[in-house]
C-alpha cells in the first residue's frame, strides 16, 4: 500500500527520474556526437549541405580543406583558426557546411602525400567560386599552371596574366587566393629571390619551397 511508503522514497524516485532523463542512458554525449557525425556525412553525400570540410595533419600543423559538389573550394593553412575559416565560408558561400571527412578522403590523401614529399601534382577538381574575377583570377589561373619546383616573380606572373606592370595587383591577387597549396601561390617570389609574403606565414613559404627543391637566391 502506498500509505506505508515514505515521502523520501518518492523523492528518491523523482530524482532517479530526473537523472535518467537528464543522462538518457549515460552515454548521451558520445551517442550524440556519433549521430551528428553520421548526419554530417549523409548531408554532404546527399547535397543537402553545400560545403563539406575536413581537418588534415601536416608537418606544419592542422590544416582544413573544404569542398563543394564542384570541387575543392578552399584550403585553410595551419596558421588560420578553424572558426575564422568556417565563418568566411559561411558568409562567402553558404552556412550549410558540415564536417564530413569521408567526402574529402581523396583530397586529404593527396595533400598528405604532397606534404610528405611523395606527390608533385594534384589531380583534384577545383571550385573557383571564391576566386575574384578579372585580373585577379587571371593571376591565379596563371599561378595554377606553375609546375612543382618552379618559381616566378610577381612581375612575371603579372605579365602572364596580361599586365606586366601590375606586379602589386598580382601580389594582392595572390594574397586573396582561397585555395593555397592547390593553387601554388607559394611559387611566386620576389625578383631578388627572397620568398616574400605568404598567407600561411613566410616560414611556411620557405618550408614549401624547400620541400619542392626550388632554387632561392636569398641565403636566408
Amino acid at each position: 500500500m502506498s500509505a506505508r511508503r515514505t515521502s523520501g522514497d518518492v523523492g528518491a524516485r523523482d530524482s532517479a527520474l530526473r537523472r535518467l532523463l537528464a543522462e538518457a542512458g549515460g552515454e548521451l554525449e558520445t551517442a550524440a556526437a556519433a549521430a551528428a557525425a553520421r548526419f554530417a556525412e549523409r548531408a554532404a553525400a546527399e547535397g543537402a549541405a553545400r560545403v563539406a570540410y575536413a581537418r588534415l595533419e601536416t608537418p606544419l600543423g592542422v590544416a582544413t580543406v573544404a569542398a563543394t559538389s564542384r570541387g575543392i573550394v578552399a584550403v585553410g593553412l595551419p596558421n588560420r583558426s578553424l572558426d575564422e575559416f568556417l565563418a568566411e565560408l559561411s558568409v562567402g558561400l553558404s552556412p550549410r557546411l558540415v564536417e564530413a571527412p569521408g567526402r574529402l578522403d581523396e583530397a586529404r590523401r593527396q595533400l598528405e602525400e604532397y606534404f610528405e614529399g611523395r606527390r608533385r601534382d594534384f589531380a583534384l577538381p577545383l571550385d573557383w567560386t571564391l576566386v575574384p574575377g578579372g585580373f585577379y583570377r587571371r593571376v591565379l589561373r596563371a599561378t595554377a599552371r606553375l609546375p612543382f619546383g618552379a618559381t616566378a616573380t610577381y612581375g612575371e606572373i603579372a605579365a602572364r596574366a596580361g599586365n606586366p606592370r601590375a606586379h602589386r595587383a598580382a601580389g594582392t591577387a595572390l594574397g586573396l587566393n582561397p585555395i593555397p597549396i592547390l593553387v601554388p601561390c607559394h611559387r611566386i617570389v620576389r625578383s631578388g629571390g627572397d620568398p616574400g609574403n605568404y598567407g600561411g606565414g613566410p616560414e611556411m613559404k620557405r618550408w614549401l619551397l624547400r620541400l619542392e627543391g626550388a632554387q632561392l637566391t636569398s641565403g636566408r
Binding site: 511508503r5 527520474l17 532523463l21 538518457a24 550524440a32 548531408a43 543537402a48 568556417l86
Partner: protein
C-alpha cells in the same frame, strides 16, 4: 539576415539535447532515425532560422518528427487501440521501468517532461518548442510528473 553560424556548429551545440529529447519521446531504438530526420529538415530550412532561439527551433522540429513517428506507427495494422505505441524500454537497462512509464505518458506530457528534464530547458523554452503558452507547458510537465510518480509507485508496490 539569415543564419550565418556554420551549420556544423549548430549541429554540435544541439545534438545532445535533440537526442535526449527523442530518446525520451520515441524511445532509444527509434531516436537515431528521428535525429537524422530532424537535422535534415533543419539543414534544408537553415536560412530561415533568422534570429529565432535556435534551441527552441530545433526542438520544435524534433517534436514534430516525434509526432510523425507516432502517427506512422499508429497507422500500422497492429491490434491495438488509438494510443500511440509506447516506445520500447531500453533492454538491459536497470531503469527500464522508468522508460516504460515515460513511454506510457500522453504525447504532449511526454514531450513536455522530456524538454524540461532531458533537455533541461526553462519553461519559457519548453513553451516555445511546444508551441503553447508557458502556463500550458508547466501544466503538461506537472501532470506528466504526477503520472510518472504514480506509475512508479505502482511498480514498486
Amino acid at each position: 539576415m539569415a543564419a550565418t553560424v556554420p551549420f556544423q556548429r549548430f549541429l554540435e551545440q544541439h545534438s545532445a539535447a535533440v537526442l535526449a529529447f527523442l530518446r525520451a519521446t520515441v524511445g532509444p531504438q527509434e531516436a537515431e532515425d528521428c535525429f537524422q530526420e530532424t537535422f535534415m529538415a533543419a539543414l534544408r530550412n537553415y536560412e530561415r532560422l533568422d534570429g529565432a532561439n535556435p534551441r527552441a527551433w530545433i526542438l520544435t522540429i524534433a517534436r514534430r518528427k516525434a509526432i510523425d513517428h507516432h502517427r506512422a506507427r499508429a497507422r500500422r495494422p497492429l491490434p491495438r487501440g488509438d494510443l500511440p505505441e509506447p516506445a520500447a524500454p531500453a533492454p538491459a537497462e536497470p531503469d527500464g521501468e522508468l522508460w516504460a512509464a515515460v513511454a506510457a505518458l500522453p504525447p504532449k506530457q511526454r514531450a513536455a517532461v522530456a524538454l524540461r528534464y532531458a533537455c533541461e530547458l526553462p519553461y519559457r523554452e519548453v513553451a516555445q518548442a511546444m508551441g503553447t503558452s508557458e502556463e500550458a507547458a508547466r501544466r503538461n510537465v506537472h501532470e506528466g510528473l504526477r503520472k510518472l510518480r504514480r506509475a512508479l509507485e505502482e511498480v514498486a508496490r
